[in-house]
Symmetry: C2
Subunit: 394 residues, 2 copies
């Protein structure tokens, strides 16, 4: 069953909105049951004003929930919710509003009410979600930041959850490149969680926005986060899981994404890293392997444009040659000299310059490595043509 | 066309053998053409004694190759080859010999002659090939060594190519656990290449063996290595590519393996590591993701048995608790203390013991990480049941 807002044609009705918000403020009453009530009674208003007996007769509601609704109604205060949203600078959108985020309408369990803050207006432009664990490895942070940068630079909206770790790195990467980025919160849109992300959230309001279906003022509670994940994937055309455990929230997001018809990508990593178990699990289940931002950009309809993470401009010939022989693996200077066939002094000078420019890092033992960068590859993720005889037997 | 040795029933004939070896010693005459000659003329002897005109009439031979064969025949010295093989302690087996490696018989391009040295007798027991680049990352070496150890411990033959890098680590891992390991050489079986692998090769002769189709005494030449790879995959039931470039010899081995119906696995790694591009390419093409030795052992018909790389015996309760909170990511001692809920002094003492025992490493900044170990998981590589809606569109 699609939500009553599916196929919306601009039928604004202030009282319908208020009643939808009222229904949404009843604790324990979720999107699917609200949709059923509205469909059964013909409008949010009729559903809101239905008697306890009428409510109980609706399939899937029953006597206990109808009693709960009847008990809860007197405490629901739509005016207060709207006032507090206004104070927080938030817009309140319902199924029947033009400002309701377009990609959420088509969900079976589209939230009846969505709160929005910031510059992002809910339109369905190019958008990719980058998700992952709150306890990433340095590698995962590097990947998430680099993907966020590439997407932001290319003009895609980076969607994530404002959580610690991978989420933060993805949002920050987009912001660093003056890109748009949107967070779906698991708490009221006027609550900052985690608290240390206040400045990140404020930066996002100027370059994107935050979204929540959780009523205004609501503190973060564990049960609010899994449903939040379905909105992260719904707002994006493609979802990439950077790091996370096999039972992590990121994998819930990936499953929502798959069910919603979104492209699902997973970033491979060390087989020794617990944080890569989730992505590897997804890859074994058929998720697409993401090795760089190119395929993700293509999935959202954009072309890959190398920037600070791509080829580097303004290098001398010597510097470029030194950089070309380096990769993430630290290498001794003798080997670098050998690889470039340049004079030792030139190589040392070039390495110093590259280090100052943030392109090269020196590691213990006077070894040098290139700072991690994605290859600007647009190679499709499945080359096709080759089939593996062992594949069907697995 | 299967090789003439396919379906061998023990029909030894000394002269047939000599003529097969003679044909094999003719430069430029490969297994497929030798098989065609033997099939056309009814025996290796008849093929060896055929006139230039008779040879030229065989489809795929023609006048130029027949002239070359006729010109080369006088220089071929089977007795010398057999004598030199004997001096090197090698056995010489042909398509028609009982000692010919069983898994090679079924190849379309099975070598007419295979030289064997060492304890391994060519039987088709549990065997997996571990292959990869000659210039691996420390991660790749760690993976190859750990896989070699697990296979060796479980009683599988570890097959590889005696090359630098991944091959060496795989062979050495098997030997460390007193396992069997076999190398397929790209040079004559009496030649040590690379020269620094002499002691490795000698250790292998006692715990496995070396195999080559390249005539005795032949130096390594670049063109001898790609065909060698088909024998590595053929001798194994499963092949895993640990690291390698997209155009590397390891990917040639993987393609041979797929064509031969062997299970093909690839080890994921950092997307920033050039050495993992090849495995990632294979994964995108449908190779199985290998996250630990379990699935590889299952593929060769063995059960996973944890050993030195698995759970660790003989730890105090405190040491076990400290080890349990560590993974490959370096962690500050304060966090470790927090994670174990133990006294700081106890944790520090446990870390010191674990470091001495080689289970924990201290990294710069007084941080501690667990030495990389595989999880002893038997989880199947594809969980099945979940399908990804984006998969078919890729």
């Amino acid at each position: 069953m699609k939500s009553p807002g599916y196929g919306y044609r601009g039928n604004n009705d202030p009282d319908e909105r208020r009643c939808a918000i009222a229904l949404h403020l009843v604790p324990l009453l979720g999107p699917v049951r609200i949709a059923r009530l509205v469909t059964t009674f013909g409008s949010a208003r009729a559903a809101w004003h239905a008697s306890e007996a009428e409510l109980a007769a609706v399939p899937g509601i029953g006597p206990r929930l109808s009693a709960h609704i009847a008990r809860s109604r007197p405490a629901v205060n739509v005016e207060r919710a709207l006032r507090r949203a206004g104070e927080a600078g938030a817009r309140v959108t319902t199924w029947w509003d033009a400002g309701y985020p377009e990609r959420l309408r088509e969900l079976d369990d589209a939230p009846p009410v969505v709160y929005l803050r910031g510059r992002w207006d809910g339109t369905a432009g190019p958008a990719a979600a980058i998700v992952g664990t709150r306890r990433p490895s340095p590698y995962g942070v590097n990947v998430a930041r680099t993907l966020g940068e590439a997407l932001g630079r290319a003009g895609a909206v980076v969607v994530s959850g404002l959580a610690r770790g991978i989420d933060r790195a993805a949002h920050a990467g987009a912001l660093r490149e003056d890109g748009m980025t949107v967070a779906v919160l698991g708490c009221g849109i006027d609550v900052v969680y985690p608290p240390e992300h206040r400045s990140l959230m404020e930066a996002m309001l100027a370059r994107g926005g935050v979204v929540s279906e959780v009523p205004i003022g609501m503190r973060p509670r564990p049960q609010q986060f899994p449903p939040r994940n379905r909105l992260i994937s719904a707002l994006a055309q493609a979802v990439v899981v950077v790091e996370g455990g096999v039972d992590s929230g990121s994998l819930i997001t990936a499953r929502h994404a798959a069910a919603q018809g979104r492209a699902v990508y997973a970033v491979p990593g060390s087989v020794f890293s617990a944080a890569s178990r989730g992505p590897h699990h997804l890859l074994a289940q058929g998720a697409r392997l993401l090795q760089g931002p190119g395929p993700l950009l293509e999935a959202v309809g954009l072309a890959w444009r190398p920037g600070t993470s791509g080829p580097v401009a303004g290098l001398t010939d010597t510097e470029a040659r030194v950089l070309a022989v380096l990769d993430e693996r630290p290498e001794q200077i003798d080997r670098i000299i050998e690889g470039t066939a340049l004079d030792a002094g030139c190589v040392a000078a070039a390495l110093a310059t590259l280090e100052v420019r943030g392109l090269v890092q020196q590691t213990p033992g006077k070894r040098f490595a290139r700072w991690s960068v994605f290859e600007g590859s647009n190679r499709p993720h499945r080359a096709g043509g080759v089939t593996w005889s062992n594949h069907s037997s697995s």
